[in-house]
């Protein structure tokens, strides 16, 4: 039986920083599919009002659809800070427009920082509105677990993600799906603390049944043989765990996007299949 314990971390030493970005304009992406067919589809940016956290990650007529609002900063260095310092699970609030004071959470990273808001107020948020993010989690470490490296992970989210330890000391991590090592696409070679890794949804399995996984936006997923301590790379015997935050593309090599939360040698983790391992559940629990 796993032992339920609150993970020991250095969270009390971490700095909480208030950052501001602006909701990006929508994009119309011209993409060429593997068959050579060119299409123009709704792309990244704007505010996605029809698809929420917890909804299907695939099957939409879109290119890299992003959860919620896509937030960026016009100044490159400030934009990078927003990308690196904000963590999945951090709280955010709309500052402008009819949606002002609406609260949301950071749901992922792509070109912009992805912030989810409650569906009933999403329609009140638009490109150009400022969003403030309480950035908290950069530098987070698990005490006594030097081989486990965390990225973009709010300390409260980490507590929800980890489900105690196995009798042999391995950390139990709840996941909704696992991807085979050949699933990794665009995002390889990029910094693991920014952007995300595109994964071929065809290679996702339900960790409990082994059947093809029914992927949802916000799902916590693992990828075999990926080392995300620094850049995202293949390394046999490692695992990367993250949250699905964008949909797939018509273009080859681009799949559903996983923002990295945690990486470790596979023998330090015990992956526990859990259909509720979706950011929506964390958000509901945090709001309660």
């Amino acid at each position: 039986m796993p032992v339920a314990t609150e993970p020991l971390t250095n969270a009390t030493s971490l700095v909480r920083t208030r950052l501001v970005g602006v909701v990006s304009p929508a994009s119309a992406n011209a993409v060429v599919s593997p068959t050579g067919l060119a299409e123009v589809l709704p792309g990244q940016g704007g505010v996605l009002t029809s698809v929420q956290l917890g909804d299907a990650a695939t099957g939409w007529c879109s290119d890299h659809l992003e959860v919620g609002a896509s937030v960026r900063h016009a100044e490159p260095a400030a934009d990078q800070a927003l990308q690196v310092l904000a963590c999945v699970g951090n709280r955010a609030v709309v500052l402008d427009g009819p949606g002002a004071a609406t609260r949301g959470i950071v749901a992922g990273k792509h070109g912009g920082l992805l912030v989810a808001f409650p569906s009933k107020v999403l329609a009140l948020v638009g490109p150009g509105d400022r969003v403030a993010v309480e950035a908290f989690g950069a530098g987070l470490r698990l005490t006594g677990e030097d081989s486990v490296v965390l990225h973009s992970c709010d300390p409260a989210l980490l507590g929800w993600l980890l489900d105690g330890t196995e009798p042999d000391g391995r950390l139990r991590v709840r996941i909704a799906a696992i991807f085979g090592r050949e699933a990794a696409g665009a995002g390889l070679g990029m910094s693991a603390s920014r952007f995300n890794l595109d994964l071929d949804p065809v290679l996702a399995r339900d960790p409990v049944t082994g059947a093809a996984a029914d992927l949802r936006l916000g799902d916590v997923v693992a990828v075999a043989d990926q080392d995300h301590r620094y850049g995202r790379r293949f390394r046999a015997g490692w695992l990367a765990v993250g949250v699905l935050c964008h949909g797939r593309s018509a273009a080859g090599g681009h799949g559903v996007g996983m923002a990295t939360l945690l990486t470790a040698p596979a023998d330090r983790l015990s992956l526990a299949g859990d259909a509720a391992a979706n950011l929506q559940s964390f958000w509901a629990a945090a709001a309660a």
């Binding site: 080392d227 850049g231 995202r232």
Partner: protein, 291 residues
Amino acid sequence: MTRPHDNRSALVTVTAEAVVAPARWHPPGPGTGDDGSALLPGCGGVAVGVHMGDEVGRWLGDHLMPGAAIEDRADGQPGPGPVHMLACLGNRVRAATGDLLGVVAGKRGGLAPGFLPPSLLAVEAPDERLERICPGERVMVETVGRGLQLTDHPRICLSNLSPALLDLLPVQEQGRGLAVGVMAWLPPWAAGSGIGQDAWIGDLDIAEENALTGQALRYGDLVAFQDIDSSAGRFRRPGYVSIGLMCHGPGTEDGHGPGACILISGPADELAAVPGPASLGPQLAELAARS
């Protein structure tokens, strides 16, 4: 031995302007899990003494390409412009004086759409010519190769391949398909940075060098990526193969490694990659010296 037919008689040659790229310093990227991530040259400038046929690991560089790095003339950090998108390996390059400098021998480019710079072409040339050119100088590239197809193999896609280099490629008709010689055969998980990007932009990195099992590759060697298609972007597609030419050396960061510019891709049942001594390095150096 029958070589495939092609449509080269229909191709046009267009002279495009480029400029010798300055050496650039990019802010540190993701770093590496291995020790000693040194800061090394390799992005832009003129690498005198580095040539096709050299071992890619011989030099202490970061994504180092042989010879002169050239790029589209643009304001600020250039993305892939007409020179990058039209130039093919084997195209001739003239210096501002009109004298022949060398031939295009490689491409380097961004990791994925939206991450485009640097967008460099390598020009293989004899040292005595490389020593006379400087960053900022104008050069002319005689671009030809866009549209090149193998007439009897419409499922096979050519990219970045000039007719001159096609003539040097170790390819022959074999049954109903083609056989191409390659020095190395790489599993799909060895493909790193460059997945998801247009096949005409830059290259595909071998990010898992264990896949080479100690084999030392040279600039110009042909390598095959299993289960990667490059017909419309470089992407994983079981049953396909992409064959490229080694054009840049190892990178110092995770997910990067020595890179190949993709020349030919298609279904493996029509395009067979045959292991053997397959390198175009010496021929490209000779072509550059001759031109």
